[in-house]
């Protein structure tokens, strides 16, 4: 009987991973969404009227991120003053991230949907556990639209363009999605500019090496890349920013930025790995899980190719952060954690892909299914033992009521602002419960005085006084 039970559990192992992940890890983040409230910068994007004027205004005066500007204009619940819809954004984003992981694994790693869901769950845990900035990833609309949404689009681009390459004679559906994603990425975040180009060259190489015969489709993809980035770089806002740096020596400036990227990435990788027990046990769980997956895609790679891929992965992480160090120059700071969200996502994806190309045979006989279960249990345990784990912090914020109190305090300030007479003065109370999982820091303090005006304009206030209320 016990043997029967053991075998049953082991056989349904991918399902167990998926369900336990949804219950143990995703639940607190989904519940935290209820307590998500607008940050000051969100108001800056909510006082510009209309969708088209909003998009046009940002494109002409600020930057070339036409897709994120479109999201600010058209998918912004604050434009209709809906705080309930605002708190739905994180749930939608979490769903989209999970789906993009699923598509990625279906395209690259396995043909089994059950296993793809399990891999997605494990990847999501890796993505969450040492995420550089959880509030900026999920609970801060402007930031999520700038960092997370383009990353999701990039994953879709990888999946659909790879399917297009491998696909039948006329892969119009994956081609159309790939083109759409190219525009979303280009108009989303410049951090993904170089990775998009690198991916295009990888597609070209694969097409030539494996005779996929998709030259015409890749030509269309190339046209899309050129047009999308033409829109970005011909934006008057970008032209003004580039003109400011014209007196600088471009080579020295570029090398300096690259060195800074390397130093940032080395520091970050050390931080992401050090003491990360859940990542260690999770990696073993992934490795063991792959041994039970009969539908796993096997890439025939010799040792030099494996080393080449490893070097490429490490170097490409620099490319994710380089546009930031290049654009900001001497002001680039390692404490600016939001720009590390995208490199971190690809760091954990690379980790999983590296595990998949490890040697396939064990040196000794093991019951991999039972071991997988064993290491997965350890991974969940480690999630709660690691004091830097965002999952643990999410639970603390929920059970200590910190999230609830944070929400109440911000909503109280909002109610006061709404109920103040037009052109009146309102006293904003400092937050006493800045829940770590939710609070971005972009609230009423000295650093954010520029956003006070936007908040005042949104609620029609004449003056704001900030004080420590009793």
């Amino acid at each position: 009987m016990s043997l029967f039970l053991k075998r049953n559990i082991a056989n349904s192992f991918p399902t167990i991973i998926t369900i336990s992940f949804l219950l143990i890890v995703l639940c607190p983040f989904a519940i935290l969404s209820i307590f998500a409230v607008p940050n000051l910068e969100d108001y800056a994007e909510s006082i510009i009227p209309e969708v088209w004027w909003h998009l046009k205004f940002l494109y002409l005066t600020y930057d070339g991120r036409f897709f994120t500007s479109f999201l600010f204009a058209a998918a912004n619940p604050l434009k209709i003053e809906s705080y309930i819809l605002y708190s739905c954004i994180p749930i939608v984003l979490i769903g989209l991230v999970y789906f993009s992981f699923f598509r990625f694994f279906i395209s690259f790693l396995t043909k089994s949907k059950k296993y793809a869901l399990a891999y997605s769950s494990l990847l999501f845990i890796f993505f969450l556990v040492r995420n550089p900035n959880i509030p900026y990833t999920f609970y801060y609309m402007i930031s999520s639209y700038v960092y997370l949404v383009p990353s999701i689009c990039f994953l879709f681009l990888l999946s659909y363009s790879f399917e297009m390459l491998k696909g039948k004679d006329s892969p119009l559906y994956p081609l159309s999605i790939s083109i759409l994603m190219i525009f979303c990425i280009a108009g989303g975040n410049e951090l993904l500019l170089i990775p998009s180009l690198v991916w295009f060259f990888i597609l070209l190489t694969l097409n030539k090496s494996y005779n996929y015969n998709k030259g015409k489709e890749l030509m269309v993809v190339f046209i899309a890349i050129v047009c999308a980035y033409f829109l970005v770089f011909s934006s008057p806002g970008v032209a003004n920013a580039l003109a400011e740096n014209k007196e600088v020596n471009p080579l020295a400036y570029g090398i300096n930025a690259l060195l800074k990227s390397a130093s940032f990435m080395s520091y970050n990788i050390f931080q992401w790995l050090s003491g990360n027990l859940s990542l260690l046990f999770g990696s073993i769980a992934v490795f063991l899980l792959m041994h039970t997956d009969k539908d796993l895609v096997h890439y025939k790679l010799n040792f030099p190719k494996k080393i080449g891929i490893l070097i490429f992965m490490i170097l490409s992480l620099l490319l994710f952060i380089f546009p930031y160090t290049w654009a900001v120059g001497t002001k680039a700071k390692i404490s600016y954690t939001q720009v590390q969200i995208i490199p971190y996502l690809f760091f954990v994806i690379y980790l999983m892909l590296l595990i998949s190309i490890l040697p396939k045979k064990f040196p000794f006989k093991l019951n991999t299914k039972t071991l997988s279960l064993f290491f997965t249990c350890f991974m969940y345990l480690a999630l709660f033992l690691d004091k830097n784990s965002t999952v643990r912090t999410a639970y603390i914020d929920l059970f200590s009521q910190e999230a609830f109190l944070y929400h109440s305090e911000v909503m109280e300030n909002i109610e006061k602002s709404k109920n103040a007479q037009a052109g009146g003065v309102v006293t904003i109370c400092n937050l006493k419960h800045p829940a770590r999982s939710l609070f971005s820091g972009v609230y009423f303090n000295e650093l954010n005085e520029d956003f006070h005006l936007q908040y005042r304009l949104y609620y029609g206030l004449k003056e704001i006084k900030v004080s420590t209320c009793q």
């Binding site: 081609l175 083109i179 899309a224 047009c227 999308a228 011909s234």
Partner: protein
């Protein structure tokens, strides 16, 4: 028509749609050949209207390199003006505190502001604000900013008397 030709036609059509979208976007945003003067004015007016609601003595003083020097220079210009309207405005300032006088002057600039343009200078930036009431009047009040630690700070305001005279006509 064979399937291959049909497929090629679809690919060409997709490429044309991509070009069409790019061109349409540039046309609709009026940025195909740079921003037109009218569009720039519209953008500036929007920014100006937003800024009009942000006048406070605290923000004015914070944006000045030295608020006392800025005010002293303005008071000299106002008191030496020959235009009675400007002189009257100057007299009304005499009953005010220095902070309040500076606030009233900036408020006056914004009250009559219609469009503005920014020019980069060696020291930092000059913002010229043109009044709205008299279309023939092309006298702009000029705000000279100096760049200190990557921050633009107001060093002086010139031609305020001419700007106000223009409005008083």
């Amino acid at each position: 028509m064979s399937v291959a030709i049909k497929y090629n036609t679809v690919l060409i059509l997709i490429s044309l749609v991509i070009f069409g979208f790019t061109l349409l976007f540039k046309l609709k945003t009026e940025s195909l050949f740079g921003i037109s003067k009218e569009m720039q004015n519209q953008l500036n007016q929007y920014e100006l209207n937003k800024r009009k609601q942000d006048i406070s003595i605290k923000s004015i003083k914070a944006s000045c390199y030295d608020a006392d020097i800025v005010l002293d220079k303005l008071l000299v210009d106002i008191t030496t003006s020959k235009n009675p309207c400007v002189i009257n405005f100057g007299l009304s300032l005499q009953e005010q505190s220095r902070d309040s006088a500076l606030f009233k002057i900036v408020e006056k600039i914004y009250e009559h502001a219609y469009i503005f343009e920014n020019e980069s200078t060696l020291e930092g930036q000059t913002t010229k604000i043109y009044p709205k009431a008299n279309p023939k009047c092309e006298v702009a009040v000029a705000l000279h900013f100096t760049k200190i630690d990557d921050k633009l700070l107001l060093e002086e305001i010139v031609h305020f008397d001419d700007y106000l005279s223009c409005e008083c006509q």
